[in-house]
Symmetry: C2
Subunit: 371 residues, 2 copies
C-alpha cells in the first residue's frame, strides 16, 4: 500500500493528495435516509450489500439506519464484518471447498450467518461443516430468476433443495435468493420493471413448490439499487440487498428514472489532478484504471460536462475537451467512477469529507478479501 | 484485506485456497533469463517496469539478472522500491503538486531518482523541490512518439525543455522518454515494427534538436514487452522499460509473434474454483472482476480450450462450454489474466510455486500505492 495517506482528518479539501477516494458525508447520509424512507411502512427490510463498500464504518451506519445486517460475497469478507460486530451476515454466494467451510462455520457462533446453495453437493458439505463446528447455518436456495448466472431453475428444483436443507442437521432453511443482477442496469424504467415482474413470478412459483412440500419459506431476498422499488412492491420479496445506493456511480446514474424510482446522489468520487496538458484538446489526469475501475465504462468528470474522460491506462486518464481554456496543469477534478464496487476495492481508505473539511478516514477493511 | 492467506510456504498446490494469484517460478525465471539473453551484446540496458508487479522480491531478481533498476508510475511506488534497496528508480510520469514533490526529493538521497516532464511549469517546480531538499534529480523530457498521451511534440519543444532542465540547479538532464504504449498491443508484428520505426524517428529528431543546442542526450528510454526488440535494434534507444515480460498475460499472448520476437511464457495465473454448475452449458467460478481485471478483456482458462470465460461480475466468473462433462462443481482451474498489471494490484501476495509446492509468498508491497 502507499507508505503515506492521501489526507488526515481536519485537513482542508485542497490539501488532499491525488488520486484519493472521497466520500461526501452529507450526500452519503441523505442516501441512507432516502433508503430508510423508501422502505418505511412496507414489510420489506434492507440487508445492505457490503461488497460495494467493504467498510465496517458504513455497515454500522446502515444497521443504525434500519438495515437488518449485511450481505457480502466471500467468507473472508463475512469474517471482517462479523469482527466488526454486524450481527446478521449473509454470503450471497455458493461456498465451495473445505478450507472455506472450516472458516465459515465458526463465524456462526458470533453472528447469524447465511449462505446460498444451488446443488445438493453444497448442502451436504455445509451440513458436515455446521455439524463439525457445532453451529447452525442459514441456507438459502438460489433461484435463477433471469440473471443466467448461478441458481436452480424456478419451481421443482428449488423445492428439492429446500427439502434436503430442511432435513439436514446443522442447517436452517432460510428462504430463497432471487437476485437479478443484469436487471439493475437496464436503462429504461419499463425494462427494469418487466424484468422484476418476471423475477417475482419465478420467486412465486418456487415458493409455492416449497410450500406444497409442507416447508415454510421465511425469506425471499434479492433486488439491488436499480430495481429494489419493484421487489419492494412485488408482494413476494420481503428483503432487498441494495448496496450501491450509498455511493451511486456513473453506471447507475445512466439509468433513466421511472415514476417511483428513488433519487440517490453521487457521494463517491475519485479526486484527481491534471499532470499533463500536452495539446489544446487533451489533458491527462493522475487517475487511471488502478484508481477507477473501467469494467462498466469510463468515469465521468463531475460537474464539468466540457471534459470527457475518454481513455484509461494503468495510471493515466486521458480527458478530451473542445475548450482549450477548460482546464490547466495542476487543476484538481472529481471523477464519478463507472462502477463503485471494484473502484472502492482499489483503495485502503475512504477520505470522508463534509463541506471543505476532511472529517475522517474510514478503513476499507475488507479490501482484497477474496477468499 | 483477507484475514487469512490463500496458502503457506510448503503447502501442496492442491491446498491453495481460491481465488489466489499464482506465480510459476520456473516460468518466471525462464522469462528473466530470456530477457537478459535478448539484450546481451547490445548497448541497450533494461530498466524493468515495476508497475506490472509492485513487488520488491521481483525487482531485486530483475536487478540480479542485469536490470539497471526499475521504473514505476507514482512517487509512493518509488518509495517502496527505494526502501527495498533498488538503487536506480525512474518515475515514468509527470509529478505534480507540492505534497508529492516534498515526498519525492528525499528519495534522491538514497537512490538515483528520475522523473519526466512535458511542461516548463513542471521543471520549475522540480527544481524548487530539489533545491529545497538539497538533492539532484534526473529529469527526462517525455516526447509524444505516437501514443497521443503525455509528452511534447518531437523536435524543438523537446530541446526547449532540455535547455531549461540543463540550466536548472538541482536537476540533471538525463535524456528522453519515448514510450509508445498503444504499439505494445498491435496484433501484427509488422504494425508493431512500423510504429516503433516512427517512434525511433521521433526520438532521433528530438535528440538532434537537443544536440544542436550543445546539450548531450545521455539516455533514450522506452519500449515495452510488445515492441522492445525494435527499440533494441533501432540504433537510437539505449534503454528499454519492459515489465509484463516476467508474467505475460492474455492480451500480450494475443499478439502474433514476428521473426525476431522473444517468446515469454505465461507465469502468472489466477487459481479459481467452480462454485456453481447450474446448466450443462454454464459453470461459474469464484474469480470475478475483483480477482482478474477485465480492462483488456476476459481471462483465458489455461490449457482448457473447451472452456471460455465469457462474463465477469464482482465475484463471479461465468464460463461457457459446449461439453457438459468438461467441468464439475469444485474443480480448480487456472486463469491467464487479461491484463497483468491491474490484476496484480488486486492482491496482497503472490503465491509462488514450483511444480506441486508453494515455495514462498511474496508481498505485493506497492499494491494500491496510488499517490
Amino acid at each position: 500500500m502507499s507508505p503515506w495517506k492521501a489526507a488526515q482528518p481536519g485537513d482542508r479539501l485542497s490539501a488532499v493528495d491525488t488520486p484519493a477516494l472521497m466520500l461526501d458525508l452529507d450526500a452519503f447520509e441523505r442516501n441512507l435516509q432516502r433508503m430508510a424512507d423508501a422502505l418505511k411502512g412496507s414489510n420489506v427490510r434492507l440487508r445492505a450489500h457490503a461488497k460495494s463498500h467493504k467498510c465496517p464504518e458504513i455497515a454500522l451506519r446502515q444497521v443504525a439506519a434500519g438495515a437488518v445486517g449485511i450481505c457480502c460475497q466471500k467468507v473472508s469478507e463475512a469474517a471482517v464484518f462479523v469482527d466488526a460486530g454486524i450481527g446478521d451476515v449473509l454470503i450471497t454466494n455458493q461456498v465451495m471447498g473445505e478450507a472455506k467451510l472450516r472458516r465459515l462455520a465458526p463465524l456462526a457462533r458470533r453472528s447469524r450467518v447465511g449462505v446460498l446453495v444451488d446443488d445438493p453437493q453444497q448442502v451436504r458439505a455445509l451440513a458436515a461443516a455446521a455439524q463439525a463446528g457445532d453451529v447452525t447455518l442459514d441456507v438459502y436456495v438460489e433461484v435463477d430468476v433471469g440473471a443466467n448466472r448461478c441458481g436452480v431453475a424456478p419451481g421443482a428444483g428449488a423445492a428439492q433443495l429446500a427439502r434436503q436443507i430442511a432435513s439436514s442437521a446443522g442447517l436452517r432453511f432460510a428462504g430463497l435468493q432471487c437476485y437479478h443482477g443484469p436487471a439493475q442496469h437496464l436503462r429504461s424504467a419499463q425494462e427494469r420493471m418487466m424484468a422484476i415482474a418476471q423475477a417475482s413470478e419465478a420467486a412465486r412459483v418456487s415458493r409455492q413448490a416449497i410450500v406444497d412440500c409442507g416447508i415454510a419459506v421465511g425469506r425471499i431476498t434479492g433486488g439491488g439499487t436499480g430495481t429494489f422499488v419493484h421487489e419492494r412492491d412485488s408482494g413476494i420479496f420481503n428483503e432487498i440487498q441494495a448496496g450501491s445506493y450509498v455511493f451511486m456511480d456513473r453506471d447507475y446514474g445512466d439509468n433513466r428514472a421511472g415514476a417511483g424510482d428513488i433519487a440517490f446522489e453521487h457521494a463517491l468520487f475519485v479526486r484527481t489532478a491534471v499532470m499533463s496538458r500536452p495539446t489544446a484538446e487533451r489533458a491527462v489526469v493522475d487517475a487511471g484504471l488502478k484508481a477507477s475501475s473501467v469494467d462498466s465504462g469510463m468515469p465521468r468528470v463531475w460537474q464539468r460536462p466540457e471534459l470527457r474522460y475518454v481513455k484509461a491506462a494503468d495510471e493515466h486518464g486521458v480527458l478530451a475537451t473542445t475548450d482549450a481554456a477548460a482546464v490547466s496543469l495542476g487543476d484538481v477534478l472529481m471523477l464519478v467512477p463507472g462502477h463503485c464496487d471494484p473502484t472502492v476495492n482499489l483503495y485502503d481508505d475512504l477520505v470522508c469529507f463534509r463541506g471543505d473539511r476532511v472529517e475522517a478516514l474510514w478503513p476499507i477493511a475488507a479490501r482484497g478479501a477474496l477468499l
